[in-house]
Symmetry: none
Subunit: 199 residues, 4 copies
DNA sequence: AATGAATGAGACTTCATTCAT
DNA sequence: TATGAATGAAGTCTCATTCAT
């Protein structure tokens, strides 16, 4: 459930193996190294055989991108929806930031990290879904404003992409020491919260 | 002087024309579109002729990457060094953030923006120089701590890459309305400062 | 009976469905579009399943080609054999030309039209059968000579392929206006007859 | 001047070598055998190198097709324009038929024969030029009608494609015995003329 | 019979690079 | 310096065919 790899695996083992292999290559070696040949080699078939499972390379990449985006969206949505409605904003924010960042940091959360490695041209294709995700955060912050936790002069239209882009880059520079070190998500959530808090 | 194009121009006009062309292509069309042929076409020579100026494509890319990093480094260094030593940390931070972000947002600051478009494999080659830049920010923040503006519990080893990566992504989502709108850099500097401030 | 689809249907419905599908694709979309996959899709099976009915693509194509040639041969033979032996040559010629051309023009006469769409390499394989068909026409014309309707100086060895190739191309350029317009066959028969007639 | 290979050769030896090689393969082995690799092999370069001379395979094929069509058009046009205006229709027809057919029969007239080997989809691209050629023949026949050599009831809209398609197929079946045997063109011209003649 | 997955060859094309001129 | 032609590797993709299930 770290990402929906399990869900994918239900139908067509090879199909999900291919998606996983491609995602792994992208995150570990970069988008340029992700060719039909390298993907095929990783799942022990030939490049041509990939076309029995996907119509094109584009389809593979797009599917990976969407899996990752949807997984991230669902994960944060779920975490927030499990909190009582009465939960104060700081706690909600901490939970959401933790959901986002700790998801990215899991060694098996390949799909969610893919997006950051894709060339801009391709990224644009998931613009709609990314906007949905951004809206989730916007509503979260709007709740914070309504509850009086956020200064009224904070421009939420800037805050949302600023925050999300900062979250997304954490795996680039953060090397966890112990597997469950919670510190980094707290640090980020705390820094963001104080950055926009009233008082 | 937005970046050190002038400096480059000293040794051979064509050489710098090539670098500029390659950088422009990368930022405007993506790394994938930056081939020896597209570069050559932009400077009105043939692909083969590029090899009279550079030993390989790698050399071109690497040089661009370094130019950008060095330019950014010098820019922020200069801004900070022009401030009196007595300048309080908040002001220094604001100046540095503004230097970094507004540099990236200038339409002609091609070199500095290149880095974000390069594949990870290539990016790694400028790790040393990026570390130098990170150290500049580390010293800045350490000053803030020494002056008592930053909480002692803030992990600067996390803060620096967190902040820099957030800065670098601003051009991805921020579309300036008027040419000289200063708001975005202030917003970022302010949010960061409050995020780490004592009290 | 326009072609011998009925005869084919005796052994195995699927077998003839495949042949018909392949012929249809060739005539309507061109030989290049006729792949094992496109054939399979048209008969609602998979490409691999085709091999339960035919040993190879070659076999399919060759069979179609032969069906068409044989169908044409039989059709013209039948028309001629139904005429009384006393029928004068001009009438026999008109009947034969009509049989050939109007067969090609029928929307359902797929098999007979296939030949003109096949690459030369493949066409050559039906050379023997085509020669048989040519001989039919040769005998027809020899009858015309014997009856004194054809000038003695006409080289029948040239006339036969010249005429047949002209007939075969009619569907390329002739677009019938009404379904039963008989004009085109008459035109061709008339032009050929006058072209070789005595006096 | 049999075709404009000479003219082509003036600019870029390799370019015309490629065109000639491709045309040769198409006529001798069929369109299916004409791949970038077979073309390249014939001119002793690699497949990739072909792209220094042509942007795509399509460009090569189209150029060949046009060279052939134009060459045929010019050839017949020239022959007719060299005849005095007073030349009676039968003589004009004989000259035109001879120009067309004997051109096709020359061993070096590769380009002009290519058209008949191309798949319909590709042929359509030269429809305009082929129409121009058809118009040339239409005017020729209209002259015959005006001079009273052709029966008024002959449908010229049918006659033109009927005749041209018959001419084009001559190389398929006619094997010249001596190099300059003129018989076949006379035979065809004669047969056509009598086929449509008044009286 | 039928399928779905796989294959290996080969299709067109692009790329960084080399080198004689 | 600059070029234009060439290369070899690699890219995506299609095809006829095979075979265990």
């Amino acid at each position: 459930m770290a990402d929906n790899r399990a869900a994918v695996e239900r139908n067509g083992g090879m199909r999900s193996e291919i998606l996983f292999a491609a995602a792994k290559i992208i995150v570990e070696q970069g988008y340029e190294s992700c060719t039909m040949r390298t993907i095929a080699k990783m799942v022990h078939i030939t490049a041509g055989s990939l076309y029995h499972h996907f119509a094109s390379k584009e389809e593979i990449i797009e599917e990976i991108m969407n899996i990752g985006t949807v997984a991230l969206l669902h994960r944060v949505e779920n975490v927030l929806s499990e909190l009582p409605d009465s939960t104060p904003f700081p706690e909600r924010l901490a939970a959401a930031v933790d959901a986002h960042i700790s998801a990215l940091l899991r060694p098996d959360a390949i799909y969610m990290r893919v997006f950051e490695f894709l060339p801009p041209v391709i990224r644009k294709r998931s613009a709609a879904m990314r906007r949905t995700y951004a809206n989730l955060w916007l509503r979260l912050f709007e709740g914070g404003v309504a509850q009086g936790f956020i200064r009224r002069d904070v421009n939420l239209a800037w805050l949302v992409p600023y925050a999300i882009s900062a979250f997304n880059r954490v795996p680039d520079w953060y090397r966890p020491k112990s597997r469950d070190e919670p510190g980094i998500a707290s640090f980020v959530a705390d820094t963001v919260l104080r950055g926009i808090a009233r008082r």
